[in-house]
Structures are given as structure tokens and as C-alpha cells.
């Protein structure tokens, strides 16, 4: 076991970690937008739209992320849409994350009892005010733990982008391995980097959660 040959590749490792973070944040933001839109559509009155969203959720939650990335990278060019590796992975991971966020956000919105909304309307609040002051705060608080743990899973899931040669952390690992032949050491270091990133995010989310959702939990 010899970790020394890896020392000179630290810049590549840092670059790879930055690409991984970019991929994670892009997919998370796009996925949350999909999630909010999907949750609104699922609670809406247009039946065909509801079926469409349901179909999307089941399709993306019941097939492997790896196959989704392959389909977007290898199959879409047949239809004239040729995306580079990073963009393909970003689109695939956004759709994957989006499918999970729809359910999480919908569950968050549904967790607010109906009579609280009615109480707000009785007090003469406008539709926006009811949403902003009565529906949104508890919905956010209830959805928060699930969203953040899904975010960490997304961070770990971006490693699949290496399979279409997007130059994120795991792909960098393959590169360093091919230069140094220190396979075990390389992957041990890569696992440690992912571990550090995942734990940092968990700690960050815990602190944000404590600060943002401080109001009393029980009466």
C-alpha cells in the first residue's frame, strides 16, 4: 500500500470534486423546479397532466439511474439531440432527482391540515397570504429532512456520470489509476473525498435546519 504517488494529482482531484459539486447543485436545483411543478400538477384539476406526472415519476423511480444516463447520452443523438457528457449526466440526474422531489414536495404540502388553510381564509387572508404564511412554512419544514437526504444521495449518485466520461471525481479516479496503477489507493482516497463531502453537507443541512425551523414543534 503506497499513497505517495497520488500526491501530485491533488489538483486533478480538486477539479474533479468541483465538477461533482457543480453537477450535484445543477441537478438539485433543476430537480427541485421539476418537483415543485410536478407537485402543483399532481394536486391540480387537469387529469391528463396528473397521469403524465404519475407516469414520469414511476418511469424514473423504477429504472436505474445508470440506464437513464446511457439513454440520454447514447440514444438521444439518434433523434438529433447530441449532448456532451456533462450535460447528458446533468439532464439525466435532474430528471431522476425531480421524480423523487415531486413526491417529497407533494407529501410536504399534503402534511398541512386542510382546516388550517380554511382558518386562514376565514381570517380574510388572500390566496397568496395563505400560501406564504400558512401552507409554506410547515410544508417546508416537513419536506426538509427528505429533500436533504435525497440531496446527499444525489451527490453520491453523480459518480455514475463517470460512465459517460463526464470529468467529475470518479472519472478523475480512473485517470489517476491509469497513470499510477495504484487502483486500491486511488479508490480509497476517492471514497474518503466523497465521505468528507457527504458528511459536510449533512452537517451543513443539520445546522440550517436548526436555524430555519426553530419555532415550537409541540404544544
Amino acid at each position: 500500500m503506497n499513497f505517495l504517488p497520488l500526491w501530485r494529482y491533488q489538483n486533478q482531484l480538486i477539479d474533479g470534486a468541483i465538477v461533482t459539486l457543480e453537477l450535484t447543485v445543477i441537478a438539485a436545483l433543476a430537480g427541485l423546479v421539476i418537483g415543485i411543478a410536478g407537485a402543483v400538477a399532481l394536486n391540480g384539476r387537469i387529469a391528463p397532466l396528473r397521469w403524465l406526472v404519475r407516469g414520469y415519476i414511476e418511469l424514473f423511480r423504477n429504472t436505474p439511474s445508470l440506464i437513464q444516463i446511457f439513454i440520454i447520452f447514447f440514444v438521444l443523438p439518434n433523434f438529433g439531440l447530441k449532448l456532451p457528457a456533462f450535460e447528458s449526466a446533468a439532464v439525466a440526474l435532474s430528471l431522476y432527482f425531480g421524480a423523487y422531489s415531486v413526491e417529497i414536495i407533494r407529501a410536504g404540502l399534503d402534511s398541512v391540515p386542510k382546516n388550517q388553510i380554511e382558518a386562514g381564509q376565514c381570517l380574510g387572508l388572500s390566496g397568496w397570504q395563505v400560501f406564504r404564511h400558512i401552507l409554506l412554512p410547515p410544508a417546508l419544514r416537513n419536506a426538509y429532512p427528505a429533500v436533504t437526504s435525497q440531496f446527499v444521495l444525489l451527490l453520491l449518485g453523480t459518480s455514475l456520470a463517470s460512465q459517460v466520461a463526464a470529468d467529475e471525481l470518479f472519472h478523475v479516479a480512473g485517470f489517476i489509476e491509469s497513470r499510477t496503477y495504484r487502483s486500491f489507493e486511488v479508490y480509497a482516497v476517492i471514497c474518503a473525498v466523497y465521505f468528507a463531502m457527504a458528511m459536510s453537507f449533512k452537517a451543513l443541512f443539520a445546522v440550517i435546519g436548526l436555524a430555519a425551523f426553530r419555532w415550537p414543534r409541540r404544544r
Binding site: L59, T63, P64, A188, I190, M199
Partner: protein, 216 residues
Amino acid sequence: MRSFTLIDFVSLFAALRWTVALVALALAFGAPLALGLAMGRISRLAGLRWTMAACIQIVQSVPLLGLLFFFYFGMPVFLGIQVPALVAVTVAYTLYTAAFLGEIWRGGLEAVKQAQWEAGACLGLSAWQQFRHIIAPQALRLSLPPTVGFLVQLIKGTSLASILGFVELARAGQVVSAATFQPLLTYALVAAIYFALCLPLTLWSRSLEARLDGSR
């Protein structure tokens, strides 16, 4: 280049047996370990609780792909001998399964009220009898829906074994796609097979959840 024939279709389904085998191995070794982790997590010994929590936390904070590569290249380093790839892959999937199922089952065990343990103690049951006859059956009911949900994650996760060269469903898809130049047809078929495998489990998990919700 050749066209997509019945042979390709059959080879995809034949590869499915490796997907099933990986899931079976992961469950066979992972489930007992998960039970141990879950019991350790609710133990009275603080040291044991913390150790188990740390183990789970580590496995859950590393990508499954990283876990696979770590043991694929690491087993010879740890043991000093070459081991078959299947052993390394099984170890990785076992730890992955144990960490996630262990945490799910701990949730189930903790959801059973403390008074149930005390009631068992009052009836003169030993600690093991309390666990076996009073707590475990209730916890099992509670944690069945997320357990089935995790099974879906595991089936999807076996697709990563393709990256280490295992000819399971995803890898067979790559091979067929490369041989026939029909990525659209091949990957759509592979996705459809995974979907056909996972959707019933997802629906089952959801119906279990709905049924449990009503009974409480």
C-alpha cells in the same frame, strides 16, 4: 453490423439471472448483518450504539460505485490473496444492504412504544423473549413498506456491477447495443425489464403503507 434478433432478446433475459443472483446474495448476507446493526443501534451499551451508528454512517456516505471499486481492488490488499470478483462484489453489496436495511429496521424497532418492552418484562419474559415475541413482530409490520422500497433501490443498484464487468442486465445491454448498433431499442428494452421488475415492488410497498396507516 447485424440486426437485432431473437438471440439478443434472449441474451438480455439470460443476463437477468445475474441481476437476480446479486440481489439474492446481497439479501442473504446483508439482512442478518442489518438485523445485528439494528439491534446494536438500540442496545443499552452506548459504545456499541455509537460504533454501529458510525459504521452505517460511513457506508451511507460513500457512493455504491466507490464501495464496489474499494472492495474489488481492496480485497487482495486486505487478504493478501486474489479473490474472485464475485466475492468482492458480494461484500460491497452486503455492506450497502446492511447499512440501509439496518437503519430502516432500527426505525421500525424504535417506533414500537417503550411500554411494550415493559409490558413484556412484567409478564416475566426475558429480554430476548420480549424482542422475539413482542417487539420484532410489530417492528416487522412497520418496517415492511420501506424494506420493499429498499429492494427496488437494490435491484437498480445491481446495474453498477456492470462497470466491474459483470454480465448482468445493464452490461448485457451495453454488449448487445455495441453489437447491433441499436442503442435505442436495446436500452429501451433494458429499462423496460428493470421497470417490470421494480414497479410491482413499488406498488406493493405503497399498498402496504396505505394498509398499515389505516390500522393504527
